[in-house]
């Protein structure tokens, strides 16, 4: 067990492109750290640098107090679960799990048998020990890969998108399994994923990367409530945060479909006459007729034409389209391409109560909780409304 300190790590490929650019990260002993970002953001490269499969261009990689930049993977004593499992097809499940122990060559056959059997019991693989990987299901192969990791006393576990090859139901089960196992063993873990559900549910802390640059390191809750910039705000949350142009005029904030009276905390950070990007989570809206009377005063109500509604049983989304000025549109398009998605049209997504009777084409009265509105600088993308001092880390649970 060990803490991992990543200090100004840079990975530059032969063509000079920095896949990972000046990333610094402290991962505490026993912590579960998630690296997340769209594809090509450098999260896997960073993980492979930790384990030693990629050379480090500059910076320091410190594991358990030792600088490991120039050490071979086998000298770093880390265990890794690969995206495609990388099981040894010519060996049985037992020999797959025993492989690292046999290489170490320190244990007798009886000790190896005991350790492998214990690991297999933890992962409920004991019935399959004599089978070959080819005859196992996807979930079982995944567990064999994890068995190979937990069987030895590794300083840390590294997971490279281990669940991305599983179907949705199994993914949910394995996610809980990984979390349970990590808590039980209390081993420092770095987990790479592009799935934000995994990022939000698994991690003590989450690190978001964009094009090799670290954007924000925070607890999942802080990510959702206090994103540091447009990119993070757009990446975390499903359906994603709505971004709309907001003009400050006459001590009011003018959005395409409503006008909000200036809140005191906005006055210092905005200038009159300028255009900002307002970020609003779909959940910050509600059908005005279904809002409790004591909550109504916290926000504003407004009338809009509803384009389309999507009723999903326990939630309901309504879509409202609007016209945006050109400069905001280009900024939003750039953001969409950063996030690996496509900006189809300027519209907002509103989450309304499933009981709401709002239907396609209706003119509806909606309510917005203005205290949960974020304002972003249209040039830098920085979050202007982010409350300082909220970088408080959630306690690390080891056990």
């Amino acid at each position: 067990m060990a803490e991992i300190t990543i200090h100004n790590i840079v990975k530059q490929y032969g063509d000079g492109y920095p896949a990972v650019n000046d990333v610094s990260l402290d991962i505490a002993d026993g912590e579960l750290m998630i690296l997340v970002g769209p594809s090509g953001c450098g999260k896997s490269t960073l993980l492979r640098m930790i384990v030693g499969l990629e050379d480090i261009t500059s910076g320091d990689m410190i594991i358990g107090g030792n600088r490991v930049n120039d050490k071979a993977p086998r000298e770093r004593n880390l265990a890794m679960v690969f995206q495609n499992y990388a099981l040894y097809p010519h060996l049985t499940v037992f020999e797959n799990i025993a492989f690292p122990l046999r290489l170490a060559g320190k244990l007798s056959d009886d000790e190896i048998r005991k350790k492998v059997t214990d690991a297999a019991k933890t992962l409920e693989l004991h019935e399959h020990l004599e089978r070959k990987p080819a005859n196992l299901s996807g979930g079982q192969r995944q567990r064999v890969a994890m068995g190979r990791a937990i069987v030895r006393q590794a300083a840390a576990f590294l997971f490279d998108a281990p669940l991305s090859n599983l179907d949705a139901k199994l993914r949910g089960q394995m996610r809980t399994e990984i979390l349970r196992l990590q808590r039980q063993l209390g081993v420092t873990t770095v987990y790479v994923t592009h799935d934000q559900t995994e990022a939000m549910t698994l991690g003590d802390r989450v690190a978001v990367l964009k094009k090799g640059v670290l954007q924000q390191v925070a607890s999942p809750r802080e990510f959702y409530d206090q994103p540091v910039n447009l990119f993070v705000a757009g990446f975390i949350g499903s359906p994603p945060m709505n971004f709309v142009p907001a003009t400050v005029r006459n001590n009011q904030l003018e959005l395409p479909f409503l006008t909000i009276p200036m809140r005191p905390e906005w006055e210092t950070i905005t200038a009159s006459g300028k255009v900002y990007i307002a970020g609003i989570r779909p959940g910050s809206f509600e059908d005005a007729s279904l809002v409790d009377s004591d909550k109504v005063n916290r926000g504003v109500t407004f009338d809009v034409d509803i384009d389309v509604t999507e009723w999903l049983g326990n939630e309901q989304y309504a879509f409202v389209s609007y016209e945006a000025p050109a400069e905001i549109t280009t900024q939003l398009e750039r953001l969409a391409s950063d996030l690996d998605s496509e900006q189809l049209r300027t519209q907002i997504c509103v989450e309304v109560d499933p009981l709401s009777r709002v239907r396609n084409g209706d003119n509806a009265t909606l309510w917005l909780d203005t205290s949960r509105l974020h304002l972003f600088d249209p040039q830098t993308g920085g979050n202007l409304t982010r409350t300082a001092g909220s970088e408080r880390r959630e306690p690390v649970t080891t056990g």
């Binding site: 384990v51 086998r74 265990a79 890794m80 690969f82 499992y85 990388a86 040894y88 010519h90």
Partner: protein, 277 residues
């Protein structure tokens, strides 16, 4: 309907091809068991009038054949083992490492494999005589390796390339050195490729006639295909054909054994289950 019909045609075509290609083999076997008198008989027939093992007894008592058999086995084995081991390392390097001149090396290897062997026999004859390895095992092993290696390297590097990088990475993270990862993970996974190469190389060395007839002069290194040309019957008045055929049957046996023994290993899909496909 139409598929059943075309399936029937395929079967007929298959049977015709099998009969066509097996007829010489069957004839060879039949001749090998015929008494010499059958060969010159006025009423020739396909099957022997009496089945006899005398031809085999005769050739095994002839030092020309037994010595050639030992040469054949020894030379083919040494050349095969050496070229497969060398090809394995070379192919691994070509499949996994980036180095300057890789393309040149590969095309050069292919060029050597394409080179007409007959064009080399003359110069080799002169060189081997002056170097002093004419009519020796090593004098045959070297040209065999030269021509077997390029093909072996190409075949095996194709097999190595199919093995996912992650297998080695996983082994390294699990604590293996590069050599351990190669020996314990890569080689077992490339086994079908290795066996294929072993068989191809062995056949090439075993069947070669050109080098063997040109680069040997005595029994000390002459292999069976070349030795057959020098075969005579038990006496000058008898045809040598039954003896030659008996010897042919004997040299065919290792080939058949090799194929039967290894065909189960040359199955694709040994790597299935390594990674999620």
């Amino acid at each position: 309907m139409s598929t059943a019909k075309s399936g029937g045609w395929w079967t007929i075509a298959g049977v015709v091809i099998v009969i066509y290609s097996f007829f010489p083999l069957a004839w060879m076997i039949s001749l090998a068991f015929k008494p010499p008198s059958d060969i010159v008989s006025g009423s020739p027939q396909f099957l022997p009038t009496t089945w006899t093992f005398d031809n085999f007894v005769t050739i095994f008592s002839d030092s020309l054949f037994t010595r050639a058999l030992i040469n054949s086995i020894g030379i083919a084995l040494v050349a095969t083992v050496l070229s497969v081991v060398i090809a394995m390392f070379a192919a691994y390097a070509i499949a996994r490492l980036e180095f300057r001149g890789k393309k040149v090396l590969l095309s050069l290897a292919l060029g050597i494999a394409m080179f007409p062997q007959a064009a080399l026999v003359g110069p080799l004859f002169g060189m081997w005589r002056s170097v002093g390895i004419y009519d020796t095992w090593i004098g045959l092993i070297i040209p065999y390796m030269t021509f077997a290696l390029p093909l072996s390297i190409w075949t095996m590097s194709a097999f190595f390339r199919q093995i996912p990088w992650e297998m080695e990475h996983a082994a390294q993270v699990d604590g293996a050195t590069q050599w351990q990862a190669f020996r314990k993970v890569i080689v077992p996974l490339a086994a079908p490729g290795v066996f294929t190469t072993v068989i191809l190389t062995f056949f090439f060395c075993w069947n070669d006639f050109l080098f063997s007839i040109s680069l040997t002069s005595t029994n000390s290194a002459r292999t069976v295909p070349a030795a057959l040309a020098f075969f005579q019957g038990a006496s000058y008045f008898e045809s040598a054909v039954p003896y030659v055929m008996a010897a042919s049957v004997i040299v065919t046996i290792p080939v058949v054994i090799l194929v039967l023994a290894f065909q189960r290993r040359i199955v694709a899909g040994l790597t299935s289950g390594a990674v999620k496909g």
